[in-house]
């Protein structure tokens, strides 16, 4: 593999509802911040990739507006995923493997607040014939998975409250007294939707060494899909996370068990113990950034996990880190990225 590293990361604060800016206005300052931090100009970037979704933005071709934040003139080499921008990161990393360029910029924009009621939106992610017509609550499939874990003795409502309590400084008993949104999940078990943008700059080899004092080298990256219908999945494990973690570890020469920091795309508290087990994390600090339980800006959430993990390498407070991103109901599709302070 070609040596590729994160050399810059910037994000806008995740706010519950940004009513002041359009898509380009949210993304543009973050792009400038990420470029300034590594001393690059827009014209120095060889490839751009981004992630967003029309169903969060509320119109067709919404991502075209975000391109105004890039200033695609003269024309640029560019691609887009209609997914979490962590998959745009994967695309940019693959592109840099080709050796056709030295730098890539990845941006993610996610606005969870524009939709008035995510119960209207998220059922559209489900099988259009056998699930969507029932219009389940947005948290219903997560509730099923959480209860399956409780029934299997793999977690408990108290343990979920502990996950939340660690981050919010709210007593466990108080959390356990709150009403359910989809049992055993309570409001605080659900990552709060918000609006934000995130930008990562990637660079290859010596370019990375030149642009960052301590680049965060992408040592391994993989993602895997599971089947869709919840009744034919084993909800008590995350097979695709395990599979992606193992493949990433083969590339990296180290595994999740060796990392000091793990940033997990936990859209619900219950996903933390599930992912820790699936990945085989041993002594890692999990979601020191606060994770999505501190704010979930839709399709920027996974990219922020990669950025936060890379930040810890770049600032020298970690030698090895893991980032995870997910998409789909009950962790259907998972991505794992392993980063380190040294290239392989």
């Amino acid at each position: 593999m070609r040596e590729v590293a994160v050399v810059s990361f910037a994000q806008s604060p995740c706010v519950p509802a940004d009513r002041e800016h359009d898509m380009a206005e949210i993304v543009q300052p973050v792009i400038r911040q990420a470029l300034d931090a590594c001393g690059l100009a827009r014209d120095d970037i060889d490839f751009f990739a981004s992630g967003s979704h029309d169903f969060y933005e509320g119109r067709t071709f919404s991502y075209i507006e975000s391109l105004d934040a890039v200033g695609a003139w003269p024309p640029i080499s560019e691609s887009h995923v209609e997914m979490d921008a962590a998959w745009a990161f994967a695309e940019a990393w693959a592109w840099l493997q080709l050796g056709e360029g030295k730098t890539a910029l990845v941006y993610g924009i996610g606005r969870s607040s524009l939709a008035a009621d995510l119960d209207q939106v998220l059922p559209a992610q489900l099988d259009p014939y056998l699930l969507a017509p029932l219009r389940p609550h947005r948290d219903a499939l997560a509730g099923l998975q959480a209860q399956a874990l409780v029934d299997a003795g793999l977690t408990s409502e108290r343990q979920l409250a502990e996950v939340v309590s660690r981050r919010r400084d709210v007593p466990i008993e108080e959390l356990l007294a709150a009403p359910y949104v989809a049992s055993p999940l309570r409001t605080h078990d659900v990552a709060p939707p918000g609006d934000a943008a995130a930008v990562i700059v990637l660079a290859a080899g010596d370019t990375a060494r030149r642009l960052a004092a301590r680049p965060a080298w992408v040592r391994g990256l993989d993602h895997r899909m599971e089947t869709h219908y919840p009744g034919v999945r084993d909800l008590t494990c995350s097979a695709s996370t395990r599979q992606a973690g193992e493949r990433a570890a083969e590339m990296a020469g180290f595994s999740a068990a060796d990392v000091e920091v793990a940033e997990l795309h936990t859209e619900y508290s219950y996903q933390e113990p599930l992912l820790v087990t699936a990945l085989g994390l041993k002594n890692a600090e999990v979601n020191p950034s606060g994770g999505p339980l501190a704010g979930r800006p839709a399709t920027a959430t996974g990219l922020i996990r990669i950025g936060e993990a890379a930040r810890r390498i770049m600032d020298g407070t970690a030698e090895r880190a893991l980032a995870h991103a997910t998409n789909g109901p009950a962790l259907q599709h998972n991505l794992v990225c392993l980063l380190a302070g040294e290239p392989r």
């Binding site: 509320g58 997560a142 049992s183």
Partner: protein
């Protein structure tokens, strides 16, 4: 201060369902439940492709509309939900099948009555049009319903 305003996206999509799901939905209209054969056993509802191998699934098989709750989550009822009081979304393993079906379970609004392992049967809507919602919900029966 930026301007902002509400708006609505609304469209009456009409999906073609193909022969397999079409027959399943037609069965619901007749208050009958069908599954589909795969290499590992019968699946209900009838997925078009095998979730393990990806192969096209086989012929349809009629099933007794009874099963066992294998996972559930308790939710507050919203306008338009199948049941007017609070209920459970659940996975129900239909007797004679592998895997489970996602649908709702009505236990009369009492959360303490739902549990994994609960035996349930289909309750059908009196007026049916060949739709997933013809199967109104599942409900407990036998000894457990009486409890």
């Amino acid at each position: 201060m930026s301007l902002s305003a509400p708006y609505t996206i609304e469209f009456p999509f009409r999906r073609t369902v193909g022969p397999k799901i079409g027959t399943f939905l037609a069965g619901l209209r007749e208050a009958r439940l069908f599954g589909v054969r795969t290499a590992r056993g019968v699946l209900c509802p009838p997925l078009e492709f095998d979730p393990v191998s990806g192969a096209a699934t086989g012929e349809l098989v009629e099933l007794a509309p009874v099963g066992t709750v294998t996972a559930w989550t308790w939710v507050p009822a919203r306008p338009g939900d199948p049941v007017e009081h609070d209920f459970a979304w659940a996975l129900i393993a239909i007797d004679g099948t592998v895997g489970a079906m996602f649908h709702c379970v009505d236990v009369g609004g009492s959360r303490e009555k739902i549990k994994t392992g609960l035996r349930v049967r289909a309750r059908w809507r009196p007026e049916r049009g060949g739709d997933l919602r013809d199967l109104w919900c599942f409900e407990p029966f036998g000894e457990e319903a009486a409890r």
